[in-house]
Symmetry: C2
Subunit: 398 residues, 2 copies
């Protein structure tokens, strides 16, 4: 299958390009290499050192025996995307090419505007280019479980059967996102749903949980092929940050009480799920929503697991509660469905705790590299639009 | 009360500036004068001739005895909006300054991207500027009943109590908008709701029905103070188009079967409602949603009323069914609530049919002026992204 990866230079994109190529798919993709700039802008680096595009392409050819059509270009540029689709004729389009950070979007008005414009426009351009060039292709769009927020009812997958004043309908599940970034994904979901209704496009909207990990199935031990792994307050997910903190001996930075509950999925499973979605496409006109996570925990449970795994590896792991820089519900009900991926064959491959152990072991050789940027381990971007470093309010010893 | 009108040069904005000034409020506002450009771009003019900004300001001063602080500037420019808020210190901000046309947003990818970027960014800029400069001010944001689409259940006002698998919550009412323009308003609603949650802003989101009419309470007979009235496929609402068509002797262009049902509100009542919302502000942190319409009809009923009113005025009015250029449900359930405005004192002042009669009489002197642009009376912008003039499929005689 010909698979176009929008955002092929990123954490998910670069790993997915290799995983799908190894499975026999023909892969091409585009990236403007912005993730590298954003992480530099917030004063950080990838915990796993990564190669530049040219080195990646050379290593890809050496490993997989073929050139990868990876073009540098802006997904918001209609002519660029349309022309790429025309030459490549993708059957599946995986869109993992957006700005993925809540704190980055909350920094100030410029970052908020940029996040929504960039994310929404890139997805709109892809929809219009599909309409014009490849109307039978299937869009697999990365969203986030954060679109739903924390309603006090079970979270369905995208749609729910609702009865209201004696009448029934199947309607989009309400969204209560918690940052301007999360809102951009909600906007995408509405735009994509509309495009499937009027143009009969095929789309799968992936409400992904917090993704973490450094490895994936079939991954080869070639430094230039490694995918990035971020640990700063903006681009590091909670679990990636915890594992990096455990590896370098920094207290785990729990935000607030830590009773916030989330769904989690290892990188290796995220790639499996995205691939399953491509290999089992939506119908023409179908807007399908998958809640993509393998296990749900609250952050205290996650920190405790990090501590246990760290101890098994001979590390001393402290857990600290920091002032929560976000405005979010800390105590809440959380019971999301995740049936749709299981129906097309997803079986979790590795439990969260085992994956954390693989990851921390993987990070240990890079301790000195990471500690160059230790200043980014504590957050300072606050949801009220100001900047102030969170203080540790309580630390429990290792 | 100091009221800032974003979009003060527009159909609603210019009328509102006069109406609120006459009620004793202190009004200021901004506009980039883009509506004039868009209408020219689609080959049309205002049916009621309008004055330029300088003439409007001179006439305003002559009529109301004071200078109007109406600045030309971009609502997406943060420094411009922030500085204006700083000097004017608004207590209410009425945002009627967006691109308001569904067909304009569906014309091609450039128009779709532009619509969403312009509309979403202008509202985001206002929210951030409120946060920084006037956090106690009240945003009255113009949305549209079209955000809801046509669900098969009653349409609540913004939120509904839902029971799902035995648990209950009050959640945002699902949205099923029918164009990239309507989607931009859905995005605004989500962004605004979020800003009220994290920054404790006050906001009222107005889900307005189709607005129509040429007159408002206290309006004075000064040509340079008249507000615009559009009749082209993009900027003319169905009812404004019908009345113009009746006045100039063109068949009423019913799209498809005409069984699509919508809520309608006369301009005079839209101004009353916006003013009532300002005078009865939301609480800090409250996101209040008003469904703003006075009566609901389907398009066939509306065309029949236009015909009856035309006959009373001695006009011959033909009704024609045209190929529907939109993709929309024509047969659907439609039962929206409209309690919230009644609770703060709204009483419909004039029924839809009487208002149509006032309007057609008002348009008759401008028949020759309108007929210069008769080509715009039949739509050609199609929801599939192409352009083709709709054909009349059935005409019923006057």
């Amino acid at each position: 299958m010909r698979v176009f990866i929008a955002g092929i230079d990123g954490y998910l994109g670069w790993a997915l390009a290799q995983y799908m190529t190894a499975r026999g798919h023909e892969v091409a993709g585009a990236d403007l290499l912005l993730r590298r700039q954003w992480v530099e802008e917030v004063g950080s680096i990838s915990a796993i050192p990564i190669a530049d595009r040219e080195e990646r392409l050379a290593a890809f050819k050496a490993q997989y025996g073929k050139d990868l059509d990876f073009r540098v270009g802006d997904l918001c540029d209609y002519a660029f995307v349309r022309d790429f689709f025309q030459s490549f004729q993708p059957e599946a389009i995986v869109h993992v090419g957006q700005m993925p950070s809540a704190p980055y979007s909350m920094m100030d008005v410029e970052h908020a505007l940029w996040t929504q414009t960039n994310n929404v426009n890139s997805n709109m351009v892809i929809l219009w280019a599909m309409r014009e060039v490849v109307p039978d292709a299937h869009l697999v769009k990365l969203g986030t479980m954060g679109e739903y927020g924390q309603p006090n009812i079970d979270i369905a997958e995208g749609f729910f059967e609702v009865e209201y004043r004696g009448r029934k309908d199947r309607l989009p599940f309400p969204r209560l996102p918690g940052s301007f970034y999360h809102l951009s994904k909600v906007h995408d979901s509405h735009n994509t749903h509309f495009a499937t209704r009027i143009w009969k496009l095929r789309a799968t909207d992936i409400m992904q949980g917090v993704v973490f990990g450094t490895q994936f199935e079939g991954m080869v031990d070639v430094p230039a092929l490694r995918t990035r792994l971020d640990f700063d307050q903006c681009f590091g997910t909670a679990i990636n940050r915890f594992c990096v903190q455990a590896a370098v001996g920094h207290p785990l930075t729990l935000y607030g009480a830590g009773t916030q509950k989330r769904g989690f999925i290892p990188l290796r499973d995220a790639l499996r799920c995205l691939t399953l979605a491509c290999e089992n496409p939506a119908q023409r006109g179908e807007f399908r929503v998958f809640n993509q996570f393998s296990e749900a925990y609250n952050l205290v449970e996650l920190a405790d697991m990090t501590q246990q795994v760290g101890t098994e590896l001979g590390l001393k792991v402290e857990i600290a509660h920091y002032e929560n820089p976000r405005q979010e519900l800390e105590e809440h009900y959380y019971n999301p469905d995740r049936e749709n991926l299981l129906k097309i064959g997803y079986e979790p491959s590795q439990d969260v705790k085992s994956e954390m152990k693989v990851m921390i072991a993987d990070l240990l050789p890079h301790k000195a590299h990471i500690l160059q940027k230790s200043a980014v381990l504590v957050p300072d971007i606050r949801w009220d639009g100001t900047r102030r470093r969170s203080r540790a309010i309580e630390t429990s010893p290792a």
